[in-house]
């Protein structure tokens, strides 16, 4: 046999090797090795991916819930309208408290852009369930007198009974707010329940649903203004006037109101918009959202560290596998990709599980709150992409370590 090799032959063979070296372990093999190894290490993989899933679930749930609650809030605002204004008497000069004119509501309703206006007067009349109750047992409820236009002005709805019509001013009938009805134990008006206002009984003809924009009325028993004055035996000036305007004319009406209500002392009139309070609630919730997002990010960080941990253990445990693969012809980058694909697979699995968990949590919680379920698609995408990135970052160091392992050391590690 002739063993001499011509330089030309050797070059050809070396080039063949170079060529082979550039097209080896396929993407599918990397994926199979990574995912296969992850699925075979069942319990450990689940536990290590759990941290990331919890983090992603928290993020998705927080984003979903804050969007759902915002949707709920804006639904409520749409329903209630941002076009409700309230006029109250502000501070007068000196120590005296300013009061509103008794016919202020009527004057306001002459402004063209005002759709409805209703005055409300609070009284210091005692309210009892019936005349035999102790006068101390008022259950924190008050009596107010109101115009018949109140219900429409507030866009209020009736839980039971019927809003009294034109005959209200003279009839001894009352409407009770939602909370007042609960505290008085009145659930239905069918059998004509009565309450004791001042010195006389009045019949409850309607129970209101909660009024989001005028929550103090929820705790009130409402009679007509003339009836309130009659029982109190005094002329009472309005405490507040509710005004419903057109959606586009809120600001214009707001500017006109002080002079209309009190031409002599417009600065003593205070105008507020109750929906501003709801909007403020919305921005307060955003602060909480930011806080929970921060917590979710911490969970993600911990989850990433968990994956890195498991991967480092995996590299140590599989030293001989690494050595064997190198002996079979795996390049360093093949080993690196194999371990990287495993940690990415862990991150991906954690991300998918997290998005599912977060979505379920959002649906369940939103449903129990009676909210519209809103899960921003971006949260799902960001959740999964983020989890994959975390898997990749967490796996980088272990994978590089695995690839750096000298094959002889790896094979000795048995």
């Amino acid at each position: 046999m002739n063993h001499t090799i011509s330089p030309a032959d050797q070059v050809t063979d070396t080039e063949a090797i170079r060529h082979v070296a550039s097209s080896r372990f396929r993407f599918g093999d990397i994926l199979a090795a990574g995912v296969g190894s992850m699925t075979r290490r069942g319990a450990r993989s689940v536990l290590s991916a759990l941290g990331v899933s919890i983090g992603i679930a928290a993020l998705v749930a927080v984003l979903g819930l804050s969007d759902s609650s915002r949707a709920e809030l804006s639904d409520r605002l749409d329903r209630l309208g941002t076009n409700l204004l309230v006029v109250t008497a502000g501070q007068g000069f000196g120590t005296e408290t300013a009061s509103l004119d008794t016919d202020a509501a009527a004057r306001i309703s002459h402004i063209g852009a005002v759709n409805e206006a209703a005055a409300v007067i609070s009284t210091d009349l005692t309210l009892l369930r019936n005349e035999w109750m102790s006068t101390n047992d008022t259950r924190g409820l008050g009596v107010v007198g109101a115009d018949a236009t109140l219900l429409d002005t507030l866009n209020g709805t009736i839980a039971d009974g019927e809003w009294p019509g034109d005959h209200w001013s003279t009839a001894p009938v009352a409407v009770v707010g939602a909370e007042a009805a609960r505290r008085l134990g009145i659930t239905s008006v069918a059998d004509g329940p009565t309450v004791h206002v001042g010195n006389r009984d009045v019949t409850v003809v309607a129970i209101l649903d909660p009024l989001s924009l005028a929550e103090d009325l929820d705790r009130a028993v409402i009679v007509s203004r003339p009836m309130a004055e009659q029982i109190a035996a005094a002329d009472l000036s309005p405490t507040a006037i509710y005004i419903r305007t057109g959606a586009a004319t809120v600001d214009a009406v707001r500017g006109l109101l002080p002079a209309t209500v009190s031409p002599l002392a417009p600065e003593e009139v205070e105008v507020t918009r109750p929906s501003d309070a709801l909007s403020a609630k919305e921005s307060a919730e955003e602060t909480f959202t930011a806080l929970f997002l921060g917590l979710g990010a911490v969970a993600l960080l911990v989850g990433g560290i968990g994956i890195a941990n498991v991967m480092i253990i995996s590299v140590i445990e599989r030293r001989t596998e690494i050595g064997l693969r190198r002996a079979l012809g795996a390049r360093r980058r093949d080993i690196r990709r194999q371990f990287l694909s495993e940690s990415v697979a862990l991150g991906l699995a954690g991300g998918i599980a997290g998005v599912l968990m977060g979505s379920v949590a959002t649906v369940v919680f939103a449903r129990t709150q009676g909210w519209r379920v809103v899960i921003p698609p971006a949260a799902g995408v960001v959740g999964i992409v983020g989890a994959v990135l975390i898997g990749a970052i967490a796996g980088l160091y272990p994978a590089v370590r695995a690839a750096r392992l000298a094959p002889t050391d790896a094979l000795r590690g048995a």
Partner: protein
């Protein structure tokens, strides 16, 4: 392998020229001293030596798993001295098949997939890998154990799977490190018989062992002691 033209003279499967290996330290440890050896195509060589004689280092250097400090290692005529790490991996994949004392089968993979794994690093498609792996398992007498996991196989059977894995790439040289070191006498016998059969079929084999009775069975025996070749009998 089509890279080799049929008219071309077949180079030795392995050639070590004045190979020295030193491990850093103070003082540095010299494990191999100017080793020259040649394994011709179709040869069956055993290297026998006591533990600490440097035979494991010799196997690592010959298998391109480790680089010599001095001298040259040629595998199938390719001088590996100047090759990059990736190119060495390609040399191992194309030209060398390893068999280890501890088998080193992946516990999660069936016998078939363990054998097929060696082809994965040559970029062979999954279907072809399995076909060729099945053929090799048949050749080592394990056609009835194809889908068994390593833990369901006896020691001898596991080593047969490892031999099939080493041969599935059709290497220029089968490098076996104490292939019978973990086997009982009966399995040892059958593995040695298998190696002889393979040699008869044209496989080039280099076995490293401390067991002189194993070494004595080969037509070409090399003895190492203290990092030097002390005998080379054909």
């Amino acid at each position: 392998m089509s890279a080799l033209a049929p008219t071309r003279p077949v180079p030795p499967a392995l050639e070590l020229v004045a190979v020295g290996k030193e491990y850093a330290g103070s003082p540095p440890v010299r494990v191999l001293h100017g080793v020259d050896l040649r394994v011709d195509d179709g040869d069956f060589v055993t290297i026998v030596g006591q533990s600490g004689s440097g035979k494991s280092t010799l196997l690592h250097v010959a298998g391109t798993l480790d680089r010599p400090t001095s001298g040259r290692v040629l595998v199938a005529g390719v001088d590996t001295t100047e090759l990059s790490d990736d190119q060495l991996a390609a040399v191992r994949s194309r030209h060398l098949g390893f068999v280890f004392q501890q088998f080193f089968l992946l516990e999660d993979l069936s016998a078939l997939d363990n054998v097929a794994l060696a082809l994965a690093y040559q970029g062979v498609g999954m279907a072809e890998r399995r076909t060729r792996a099945g053929a090799l398992l048949d050749r080592v007498g394990l056609s009835h154990r194809v889908h068994h996991l390593p833990r369901e196989l006896s020691g001898g059977e596991r080593q047969r799977v490892a031999i099939a894995r080493a041969l599935v790439t059709d290497p220029s040289l089968l490098l076996a490190d104490e292939p019978t070191g973990n086997l009982d006498s009966q399995s040892t016998r059958s593995i040695l018989d298998l190696l002889h059969e393979l040699h008869d079929e044209g496989v080039t084999i280099l076995v490293i062992t401390h067991d002189t009775s194993v070494a004595a069975l080969a037509p070409h025996q090399i003895t190492v002691a203290d990092g030097r070749i002390t005998a080379d009998r054909r």
